[in-house]
Assembly symmetry: C2
Homo-oligomer: 199 residues x 2
DNA sequence: GCGATACTCCTGACACTGTTCGGAAAACTG
DNA sequence: CAGTTTTCCGAACAGTGTCAGGAGTATCGC
């Protein structure tokens, strides 16, 4: 009798929790990371949100780093998808502008995601080969768009990424939520294409 | 008797520890941060290095954030000193090149310091007014050098910082310890000054 | 339908973290 | 020498990621 009443509610909670699948956990993790910063992710707090015990998360993820790894993959997949959706103009300037705008916007949208994907800010975290492969894919896709546009040498490409990532990081650091550096994209693209293509 | 032998070594250690002053603690903190990343700093490990109990650190610092705050101030002071030591050439291109080189080198030297000063990577950390004042001083100094060179508008200045910080962050992220992006400084400065000054 | 197997989840525990409190020893001040 | 201030530590609290072991549930082969 006493046993039964003690076990009953546990079973109920089981059912409630059971729907908290991998995807839901990751979504909750995204929310936490966005609200409090990449390094403020806590497995225990995460478990609380998805109504689990912290140890149960280990059914879905090998470790905290594994959670980060999945977020890393998520972010890169999203970026890759946007690149795929992008229709590249024949006009050089227009194409460059679109790519820059795509990237800077992507960065400005979500500071945490930017940190996770492009800055090594979590101690000892390194993406798994599978996740890193997606990042490489993103890189290749970006690179191929730019070579199509006429950006041939690695030097020019590096200079391009420097400019675009510079705008992104400055936007996030000095004017998060605003458009102080986003407004400069036009100007920056003009500067860049004048330099490498002449005017 | 038993009491005395138990107390004796404690007194000896006291003397040994006593030389671990604020400066020494901060130096040790710099080393830890450089070796393991900004977010891997641990007060307990730090105390171990300077041969103290963790609680004793609170004699010198109000909190872990306060340690970060002092590091933040340290870094900005160093950068400010370098700006002061810099002799600005009359030649525009040369001057810009020197400033860019100064900054990118400073960034490339020490990833942890760069994160600490220019990226908001530590959860909830915000520099104290006193430390932030030094950062503002650095900003002013950089800005004044550039206006002297003929960079008048805020837009141009923002574009400049974007390019320079872009080179820095790319250097750290994609080729730490190397010079893949440092080599581009010449090129980048040419691009920038052609754009804002004409050629 | 039944037994074995796999999956999911939890209890308990360990070593670690930053931090607070209260007290003791040492250093400095009059 | 007495009194005050500075420096340090022992004990403890709430938080962290993680592991081991054991339940309950779902699924598969028979």
């Amino acid at each position: 009798m006493a046993d039964k009443t003690a076990v009953e509610p546990r079973r109920d909670r089981r059912h409630a929790r059971h729907q908290a699948t991998k995807r839901e956990i990751l979504d909750a993790a995204w929310k936490m990371v966005r609200d409090a910063g990449v390094n403020a992710l806590s497995l225990r707090a995460l478990a609380r949100v998805v109504d689990m015990e912290p140890q149960s998360l280990y059914t879905y993820f090998d470790s905290k780093h594994s959670v980060y790894d999945h977020l890393f993959a998520d972010g890169n997949r999203e970026l890759l998808a946007r690149f795929d959706r992008l229709e590249v103009s024949d006009d050089r300037r227009r194409a460059l502008d679109a790519v820059a705008r795509l990237f800077v916007t992507f960065a400005a949208e979500d500071q945490a995601r930017y940190e996770l994907l492009f800055l090594r800010t979590i101690p000892d975290f390194e993406p798994s080969p599978e996740s890193y492969a997606i990042a490489v894919e993103v890189f290749k896709r970006g690179r191929s768009i730019l070579t199509d546009v006429g950006l041939r040498t690695l030097e020019d490409f590096d200079l391009w990424t420097a400019v675009v990532s510079g705008l992104s990081s400055q936007q996030l650091a000095n004017d998060p939520g605003g458009d102080r550096y986003i407004r400069l994209i036009d100007n920056a693209v003009a500067m860049f294409s004048e330099h490498v293509f002449g005017r």
